[in-house]
């Protein structure tokens, strides 16, 4: 993975001192909250229900054991012993004091971490495929480009006061594990007919109160033009977005209002302008960064067989692994969705366990998935049993990857000032209802996503089953949606009808699930059946 050089260190340290000074001025009353808020947001510091919340960047979801141990240390020292992994591969602490924030950023800087541009109207953390560099189906590791773009977009002077947040994703496989088309700007690394590497570019996606799926704005962009192209997109949006209504300032709205053709035309024009200025990164800098992502020294001649005699281990094996490109290795998914737990939450002790496993069994590398789970990307099959035992003892061995209890939920009204309803209790009730392992496996892949408000941080628009919490005359109410997806067949979930209360939504979901079982054809997931029979095929079952 990437290692900071003297320049990266200097910049992150300067940022810490910058924020320390801004915090000092705020605490001394030299700045109002209105003035301080955008500045603290640029360092990921929100004021939430119970305390300040800090969102730490985990660039493209990659971290090592040293960094994970530091995150554990911060949880213990400055928070309440745990952290929460998010749908954008970052980590959140929910009990932070403002007066501690500069010191926390200082500690993060020691291990090459930061909270730069993780919130506010900034270019946010660049997300990538959480199997990057390990997946059998990639054409190359997308992370050198994610890192290149991360540096390009850090403190971009023209684009530091954008109309709204801007989210970028990068992958390098046909399979989309990063929900590309739900981003403002997304890249799939491809080869053209001449064998040249370039980007398939998507623009204008986003969730929130007006979801849009990104469109293909360029079929093939030479990789060397990414800086000029991205600046063109940002400049068109920065200049022409509305600035009078915060709900209409995301780039997806501008694309919708101009139309895709006109937006593309303006971007192409601006791109030509930037190309003429000749500011793209040189190949030498890309090569320097890419060298950090060279594959680890995989062993050869490793055994492929795994001893499945332990039945609990066998169940876990069948659910949690993904194919690795190197023979004898596997990608290991670590569930952070224990049935009675809180999805995405992890204790400081568990962080240390996972750090040790990474160091010992996965070339010191860990990933955070946007599904709020963790990944050990490079584990020898021969080591899987030892890894599983350790995970089991730490409460991290639920075998529910992509199953009905692998629920994505935002923190919701239990933690968040923006929320209208609690989401975690709903997730817990659903998981409890469907807890039986056989039932889960029978239902197969079923992605439930829950948001506590219209900002959609739980990504409910992309759920096979989505749940949206709303405020209905002062009471929590939940809307049910069906048919969303974040994979390469991206689709937006549709609302089924009137909403439900907290217990009603669980019953409604069960009725929808039972309906699926009634009408499914062999091999069909819930999403496939829904796409075949449509909303009409489910509505009666849900509402009776």
């Amino acid at each position: 993975m990437y290692k900071y050089d003297q320049y990266d260190h200097a910049m992150v340290r300067a940022r810490v001192e910058d924020f320390r000074d801004q915090t000092r001025r705020r605490l001394a009353g030299q700045m109002t909250d209105d003035q301080f808020k955008p500045l603290r947001l640029k360092n990921g510091l929100y004021l939430q229900l119970h305390a300040y919340m800090l969102r730490v960047a985990i660039p493209y979801g990659t971290l090592n054991s040293t960094q994970m141990r530091k995150l554990a240390h911060i949880a213990r020292t400055y928070d309440r012993g745990y952290g929460h992994f998010t749908t954008r591969q970052n980590l959140q602490y929910h009990w932070i004091k403002l007066e501690d924030a500069p010191d926390i950023l200082g500690e993060l800087a020691e291990v090459e971490m930061h909270a730069i541009q993780t919130s506010g109207e900034s270019i946010r953390n660049i997300s990538a495929d959480h199997y990057a560099g390990a997946a059998a189906d990639e054409i190359m590791d997308p992370r050198p480009w994610a890192e290149t773009i991360r540096q390009m977009t850090t403190f971009m002077p023209e684009f530091s006061y954008l109309p709204r947040k801007f989210k970028i994703a990068v992958i390098a496989a046909e399979a989309d594990r990063a929900a590309l088309r739900w981003h403002d700007f997304a890249l799939r690394i491809v080869r053209n007919e001449a064998g040249e590497v370039g980007f398939q570019v998507f623009a204008g996606g986003g969730m929130g109160r007006t979801p849009f799926i990104a469109y293909e704005i360029r079929e093939f962009l030479p990789t060397g033009q990414i800086l000029s192209y991205l600046q063109a997109v940002l400049r068109v949006w920065n200049r022409h977005a509305r600035r009078d209504n915060i709900h209409k300032q995301r780039m997806k709205i501008l694309v919708h209002e101009l139309g895709q053709e006109e937006f593309s035309r303006q971007v192409e024009e601006e791109h030509q302008h930037f190309l003429a200025l000749g500011e793209d990164f040189p190949q030498a800098e890309y090569d320097r960064i890419a060298a950090y992502f060279a594959p680890p020294a995989f062993e050869t001649g490793l055994p492929d067989e795994i001893d499945r005699s332990d039945p609990d281990f066998a169940v876990w094996l069948d659910q949690q692994l993904a194919p690795h490109k190197a023979p004898g290795y596997a990608i290991v998914n670590i569930s952070l969705k224990p049935i009675q737990g809180i999805g995405g939450d992890i204790t400081a002790d568990q962080m240390d366990v996972v750090a040790d496993l990474a160091e010992r069994y996965s070339f010191d590398e860990l990933r955070v998935a946007h599904t709020q789970n963790l990944v050990l990307p490079h584990v020898r099959k021969a080591d899987l049993y030892a890894v599983w035992e350790t995970l089991r003892d730490a409460g991290l061995a639920d075998a529910n990857l992509d199953l009905v209890t692998d629920i994505i939920a935002c923190p919701g009204l239990d933690y968040c000032t923006l929320a209208n309803a609690r989401s975690i209790p709903v997730a817990q009730k659903i998981a409890d209802r469907f807890a039986d392992p056989q039932r889960q496996r029978d239902l197969g892949e079923l992605k439930i996503k829950i948001s506590g408000c219209i900002n959609a941080c739980g990504h409910h628009h992309a759920g096979h089953i989505g749940v949206l919490g709303v405020d209905r005359k002062g009471t929590e109410s939940y809307q049910l949606l069906l048919g969303g997806s974040g994979d390469e067949e991206t689709s937006q979930a549709k609302i089924t009808g009137p909403g439900f209360d907290e217990d009603g939504i669980v019953d409604a979901i069960e009725r929808a699930v039972e309906r699926y079982r009634e009408v499914r054809e062999p091999g069909e997931r819930f999403l496939d059946t829904y796409r075949r029979v449509g909303m009409e095929g489910f509505k009666e079952a849900i509402y009776g």
């Binding site: 050089d5 320049y7 990266d8 200097a10 910049m11 300067a14 940022r15 001192e17 910058d18 000074d21 801004q22 003035q35 955008p38 500045l39 109207e121 190359m140 050198p144 540096q151 390009m152 850090t154 403190f155 971009m156 002077p157 023209e158 684009f159 530091s160 006061y161 954008l162 109309p163 001449a194 064998g195 040249e196 590497v197 370039g198 030479p222 990789t223 060397g224 033009q225 800086l227 400049r235 920065n238 200049r239 600035r243 302008h273 190309l275 003429a276 200025l277 000749g278 500011e279 793209d280 990164f281 040189p282 190949q283 030498a284 800098e285 890309y286 090569d287 320097r288 890419a290």
Partner: protein, 178 residues
């Protein structure tokens, strides 16, 4: 594997087209007169700034005032008679003026670009990098705070309208121009 056949413009061309102006940010000491902080030593243009529409109409004006939503490229045909462009920030969060300033410099404009309105000290570094060389905010800036903020970041990651050398060039000195 990195694909070596991917076409890239030669990094040496990063000085841009022959017309692009870069402002000297490195060693300029600003002067403060009243509300205005100025990073230029040529005489202050004394004509009052007129609106963009008025400027395009009048052949004798030399100072123009841009609102945040004005299209700075309309000045293209008349750029040589402009000595001062004021760009307003109605709210500091409204970052359109950054693009306007940088576009002006890309068009080859070497005159003064002044930021007005809701300008906080925390914006000044980004503004200087985009080509602003004077500041006349509603609430006066503290010179000491401004100088401290300009000194705070030792490097930059990318090129802009100033002469700062981006980190990637420092990493590859063999690619720098002259």
């Amino acid at each position: 594997m990195v694909d070596p056949t991917s076409p890239l413009p030669h990094a040496g061309a990063a000085g841009g087209g022959p017309d692009r102006a870069t402002s000297q940010t490195s060693a300029v000491t600003p002067t403060q007169v009243g509300n205005t902080l100025r990073f230029r030593d040529d005489p202050v243009p004394d004509e009052p700034a007129v609106s963009l529409d008025a400027f395009l109409d009048q052949s004798n004006a030399n100072s123009v005032r841009l609102e945040a939503g004005d299209d700075v490229r309309l000045l293209g045909p008349v750029l040589e008679r402009v000595r001062l462009v004021e760009i307003d920030f109605p709210k500091f969060r409204d970052g359109r003026g950054f693009s306007s300033a940088r576009i002006l410099r890309e068009m080859g404009y070497r005159g003064e670009i002044k930021a007005t309105g809701d300008v906080l000290v925390d914006l000044v570094w980004f503004m200087r990098r985009c080509g602003f060389d004077s500041f006349a905010p509603d609430v006066p800036l503290n010179l000491e705070d401004v100088l401290a903020s300009l000194d705070r970041y030792p490097h930059v990651y990318q090129e802009a309208a100033d002469d700062a050398v981006p980190i990637w060039k420092l990493r590859h000195p063999e690619l720098q121009n002259g």
